[in-house]
Amino acid sequence: MSEPTARTGVIHDIGYRKYDGPRLGRARVARALYSHSLRGAYGLGRSGRSKVLPMMLLGVMCLVAFIIAVIANVGAGITSELVLPYSAYTFTTQAILTIFVAAQAPVSLSRDLRFRTVPLYFSRPLERSDYVLAKFGGLATALFLLLTAPLLIMYVGALLAEFPAGRETGDLLLALLGTVVFAVVFAGVGLVVASLTPRRGLGVAAIITVFALSFAAISTLQGIIRYEVGNADLAGWLGLLSPVTLVDGFQVWVLDASGRAVAPPPGDAGGVVFVLVTFAAIGACWALLNLRYRKVSI
């Protein structure tokens, strides 16, 4: 037996300190990612240039609502209703909502893909579904804030003009439910498309195409079929095929809102189908995102 040789190799202790603070675990990681995504959607915590666009869109959204509130106060003696009902506001300003989703959904996901930070997230105690939930929740909350802020401005305007407070409050609460559905559906569709490409520009263009082209095509077809052909039922069913008209139909039937799409859902059966399809669309986005993130690379 040979004697143990003298140790020559030494691991030098150069003074790195171990982390000995509390380890906060899965829920806290997910919560941090959620607030990071939510702040990122408005460019908070990022450079000034990335704040410009989301803040500008929020500003335009609120400006239109402010004008409506002012009109309500100026014309308070003549009318006791807002120019535009709460539940129709989102549909009317959908171009702004679409641009916001298209611009900010890729911000939320594409950067993680492009700079390969997704594997780093998944090497933490964070499940795939937590990542999806945090991103989905973050963007949906951001959209909800974008849609709610103008409604609150209109509500304050209506109260200042001394419109019946009970009616206004009821209308507002119903419209807020509608904005929740709008926010979740738009965030879901936007994120599914954005998760497919690491290129931000491509993601923006693809999301816009899905929303704007489908809306233009569907509402034109609806108009032609309803007024030129005279088939209101078929026109109503077509509304299922575009996210905006889908949620508008949902609002009309569930929340008894005044729909803005060319044709409302046909009858009660149509209403039920619109509700089911809306929930199915949300579920499908959730399932597709989870499926997408089973694999990290494209």
Binding site: A95, R199, T209, A216, I225
Partner: protein, 238 residues
């Protein structure tokens, strides 16, 4: 023009699956045209409404946006544009090559399907298909030039391009009549109005004015994009 830049741009834009995705949008337009023809039959007013709202107001601007920004935006984004810029090719010539690819792609994928959709729905009657085809053609070229310029000027070209296409032409155009005189869509529709022998569309701009404005925009945007590319500075990721 530079052959190599054209070839590289073409491959970056349409290589792989991307051409199929773009083709899908054109096929969608044609499918809807066929569907309307089969269900509704021939009705020239419907043809005009459909092509005006879906093709000229939505498909062509979106295509111009995707293609016009797609020929140079990604390269500026990931910094690989420097490999092209460091070659002894004049910057305006690079822009001209890229503009050529963008304009051809938009015409091929958006204007030609518009013309074919017009033929499917109305045949050659009253030169409706020809009118809308010509409108889509000039609009394609103009949008390509504008959005190419925009993507040299700003990194958020797609978003600002969208704001123009959706808010200026769509939302403002329907409330503020003045916004309509400064809209590529109205300029190109004046061509439809002039070509088609039936009174189906009305444009807010006279043909001569529209022609001059279109020419100025196309030439001016391409020229200015070349100038801007000469002083392009690459910024880091925001």
């Amino acid at each position: 023009m530079n052959g190599t830049v054209v070839r590289l741009t073409y491959r970056a834009l349409l290589g792989g699956r991307r051409a199929w995705l773009l083709l899908l949008m054109s096929v969608l337009l044609l499918a809807m045209a066929v569907l309307l023809r089969v269900t509704v039959g021939v009705d020239h007013q419907i043809t005009a409404d459909f092509l005006g709202a879906v093709a000229v107001a939505a498909l062509v601007p979106l295509f111009g946006l995707i293609v016009g920004t797609g020929v140079i935006g990604p390269e500026i984004d990931d910094g690989s544009i420097v490999y092209v810029l460091s070659k002894p090719i004049a910057r305006p010539r690079i822009i001209l090559s890229k503009f050529l690819v963008a304009a051809c792609a938009t015409v091929l994928f958006a204007a030609v399907p518009t013309f074919v959709a017009g033929l499917v729905m109305s045949g050659t009657a009253s030169r409706i298909a020809l009118g809308f085809g010509a409108a889509a053609l000039v609009a394609s070229v103009a949008y390509s030039a504008i959005f190419l310029l925009l993507s040299v000027v700003t990194r958020h070209a797609v978003v600002y391009g969208l704001a123009y296409a959706l808010i200026w032409e769509g939302l403002l155009g329907s409330f503020v009549p003045g916004a309509r005189t400064l809209s590529v869509q109205q300029w190109s529709l004046s061509l439809t109005e002039a070509i088609s022998t039936r009174d189906l569309v009305s444009s807010d701009v006279r043909l001569a004015v529209a022609g001059v404005l279109l020419a100025v925009v196309i030439v001016g945007a391409t020229w200015y994009a070349g100038q801007r590319l000469r002083v392009l500075s690459l910024a880091g990721e925001e």
